[in-house]
Symmetry: C2
């Protein structure tokens, strides 16, 4: 393993790791997760498989990292609409729409990556659990802001409200359900958002 | 084909059809849909495959019928709680809970049949579309009753309200989502029902 100057081993390794993830992203995108081997990735980057195994335990660990990046991009887009300086109800509505858009875009532009995310969800990969935690924190922030501003009711326990919203988000957020009604997904997102907002009325 | 006395060809054929469906139900339950052939079913009933093809075009058509029976049983159970002489809000809550119970029971007691229903849903079989139409009519009846009784708000267009409730039911009703959180499904159903009922408040 090549060590950088000034003991910068961490950053150099970090770069290598990113390079592997990036190659994996390309390969998975074109050939799918199941048809890509660690040897394919090693060949693409010009490394040995043994070298790749220094960074990742298994192909699944690489898949996890790629899936995590992909969900991270979606979460970032959702977070940016969630944080706009607008009323909480508007921010919540936009979270629903943005999730639908991001999911539909992934599904259309990158169906093989979408399949990985769907498989990851079925097998309860850590990246999917983390994504749910992120979504929950985004929703919770908006609900709290809405309660403080008097926009939302405060009788229902906060945890219950947030859990219910996450469940209501599932037909939009779940890649398997989303893929089944891709043409209607934005309209569905608006419909569910409407119901959720009515449920939050003080 | 044996014709009955008094021109009762219809009913006799109906019986034969039921016999095939019943044999298919048993076979699918034990061996799964993909591992069962039409020849297996013919053998089990003591008929020729050609005879079975007089009643069903294909194995898929038999699968459709079995799936339809299975979903029909669930719909029947849901309908009976929906029609109890109780306030609309209570009936709607029970629809959520009953769907969760029925889905969980199918998934636990009869996992291979559950897999068929899940596959049927992914492939948008007619039996699944019919089931959704049935659920929609059950929900619509309750919402209308609740509106007439002054229990539910009437500002939102009826179609939008009902469509939103069907979407909110999806994490409970969808066999794939249900199978992923079987232990929590009744609690989840109660949580979503709570949100939906808050959204219906006048």
């Amino acid at each position: 393993m090549s060590h950088s100057l000034g003991g910068q081993r961490g950053p150099a390794e970090h770069e290598r790791r990113d390079q592997i993830i990036s190659a994996a992203r390309d390969h998975f995108r074109h050939y799918g997760y199941s048809k890509t081997t660690v040897a394919d990735l090693a060949k693409a980057i010009g490394l040995s498989t043994a070298y790749i195994y220094k960074f990742f335990d298994s192909k699944k660990a690489i898949g996890e990292a790629v899936c995590g990046h992909c969900l991270g991009d979606i979460a970032q887009a959702v977070r940016s609409v969630a944080e706009e300086p607008k009323p909480a109800s508007e921010r919540l509505r936009r979270v629903f729409i943005e999730l639908a858009r991001q999911g539909a875009a992934l599904c259309s532009a990158n169906p093989k990556m979408h399949d990985i995310v769907a498989a990851a969800l079925m097998e309860k990969w850590q990246s999917c659990k983390s994504h749910e935690v992120t979504l929950m924190s985004i929703v919770r922030r908006i609900v709290q802001d809405g309660r403080e501003a008097g926009e939302f009711e405060r009788k229902t326990p906060l945890d219950e409200t947030c859990r219910a919203i996450l469940l209501a988000l599932e037909p939009i957020n779940n890649p398997i359900l989303l893929a089944q009604r891709l043409e209607a997904i934005e309209e569905d997102a608006a419909t569910v958002a409407g119901l959720v907002l009515r449920s939050l009325a003080p």
